[in-house]
Symmetry: C2
Amino acid sequence: MDFTEKKVSSETVYKGKILNLRVDDVELPNGKITKREVVEHAGAVAVVPLDEKNELLLVRQYRYPVGKMLLEVPAGKLEKGEDPEACAVRELAEETGCRAKDMKLLFSFYSTPGFSNEKMYVYLARGLTYLGEHPDEDEFIEASPVPLQAALDLIDRGEICDAKSIIGILAVKREMDK
Amino acid sequence: MDFTEKKVSSETVYKGKILNLRVDDVELPNGKITKREVVEHAGAVAVVPLDEKNELLLVRQYRYPVGKMLLEVPAGKLEKGEDPEACAVRELAEETGCRAKDMKLLFSFYSTPGFSNEKMYVYLARGLTYLGEHPDEDEFIEASPVPLQAALDLIDRGEICDAKSIIGILAVKREMDK
């Protein structure tokens, strides 16, 4: 069955630094017109860095929209036209100071397809070498190693609590159990 | 270390049906001022309905922001002041026609804490009874049973590709393997 919603008109409400907001009138399959609010986002990558001791490198940073520090896998948004794997290499270096010998795509997914087109690519990074940190001067991030099992416990206790980190860590656990 | 970003000023750019957009000036830990774009969202629930044959009830619907049909776990946004578990019961009934004897919270997580405060609660629903569908007349959703292993394969093939469904299905798999 075709449930496609057809765009009738579109208004860009806001154009910003990391997102744009568009409000469209769309025609539903029953012919009715309704509004759809769409947050346009360039997409992002997340990297799960796993070392030879089965420790993950996680980063702690303040997330203003939720008003607290979160412990997450390294991540960042795609620059215009940037290849997701190149972005994963860049973000891993910026946030942890590491380079990875192997970078493997685990999943790509939509964060919240009800209101945004943000697509996220999750990589597993192995064969890590520490090169030294080069964070942006306005980025405040602390990296620290967390054993894989401890990270799973942190998920169960709700202390790792963002979508990309949960997906990345559960996926790495499955990968290890294969 | 305290990485808190302090609000200096705040402007509501848009107030809508499912989201508001706010642009704040914040003070970084180094004293610099920068902008933060925040999509305010009331939060949402997702429900993984698992029957006695180890089949999941999944729903197919058109997601306008990403421009395609997605196969997902049933989900919906919280009404103002609504308890997440009550919302899970309501959305399960609306989207699949089922009532669950047991509704268990698996996780709560932030969809995309870099630009939104959306918090999502994921439930496992067991002991299902079919009561008959009562969808909203403007909701176009098709429910169908999918064996758990087939759902995991669909994740690996990228055909189930939204955060809440991946998290919910991987969590149920872990729950079953315990």
